[in-house]
Symmetry: C2
DNA sequence: TAATAACCCACTATTTTAGTCAACTAAATA
DNA sequence: TATTTAGTTGACTAAAATAGTGGGTTATTA
């Protein structure tokens, strides 16, 4: 599980797509303008997102991209994974040169941690992000400042 | 919140330090050998960890590094933050060229998400990692599937 | 004082991220 | 059918982050 600006770009673009997908396919040119991400870089990202089945493409005039499935079936972890090729298995994989098993243990520990983060991000759907988008635009009127406030609002909405 | 191999190196090294700190200071040379991380790279990382107060150094023969505070007062998020200089505030910070406020909204959404991940990693202490080292991965037995489950488990452990 | 290990700095190599450019294919419409 | 739109692909480049080198200095202890 890697978490860099690349993943942020992808999540942002997917979110933009989700928000604007009510009126047919969304072209990368639109997303590029709105989110200020270079068109060619978006092409690279969406090529991977498409291969992962997260988006579907429509060619020709009026074409663009659509979500590959429902808002509530696309999760942040999937988006991040799609653009970040999976992390390499690291050093001691099958070499067996671990001293007293310690190297392998710490390695496993990290991968456990990585799994936990993955689990966590697997619990956040695009739908949840979009609904938070709504909440946020409301919050600007209501003067909500802390994350805790947001959580309260969000969980009450999801319930 | 960035999450790359750099942070993994730091967490792994801190964990190695934690495990071996019962017999006085641990030298970077030892950690370098055990974890197969270059000594000079470790020096760079520990320079930052020291400035963050996560470790304390002892110079001279027999010297090395010790944990800056108790196992249960050092959290993964702190380690990752210490070595990854904080993410830049990104594009639309004060430029005001956001169209209908949308660009800023997605930016805020991402930073919220980033906060959530941060919050999550703030709940995992070195003590927890070390005990997991002993117990060999508790999560695999508990079958954690949803975010809610994770939250419940985590908060009950902290209580 | 000699050995040890942290500390510090400038430098290099590699990889990843981000972006550019150009040619091509498929679909829609005039 | 010709043209336009927009995805598709690949090769290439620039910049940044990651990872590692090398050489020195300072503090401490034996």
């Amino acid at each position: 599980m890697r978490l860099t600006t690349k993943g942020r770009y992808a999540v942002t673009a997917m979110l933009d797509l989700a928000i604007h997908s009510d009126r047919g396919p969304v072209s990368l040119a639109e997303i590029s303008k709105r989110q200020e991400i270079s068109l060619s870089y978006l092409e690279q990202l969406f090529s991977k997102l498409r291969k992962a089945g997260l988006v579907a493409s429509v060619r020709g005039p009026g074409g663009g991209y659509q979500l590959g499935r429902g808002l509530d079936a696309i999760f942040v972890a999937q988006i991040v994974d799609a653009v970040n090729e999976s992390i390499d298995a690291t050093s001691c994989g099958g070499k067996g040169n671990c001293q007293q098993g310690e190297v392998c243990l710490t390695h496993h520990l990290w991968s456990d941690l990585s799994d936990q983060i993955h689990h966590f991000l697997s619990g956040i759907s695009l739908a949840k992000l979009v609904s938070r988008h709504d909440v946020k635009s409301i919050s600007q009127r209501q003067e909500i400042n802390s994350l805790d406030d947001l959580d309260v609002i969000q969980s009450s909405r999801l319930a």
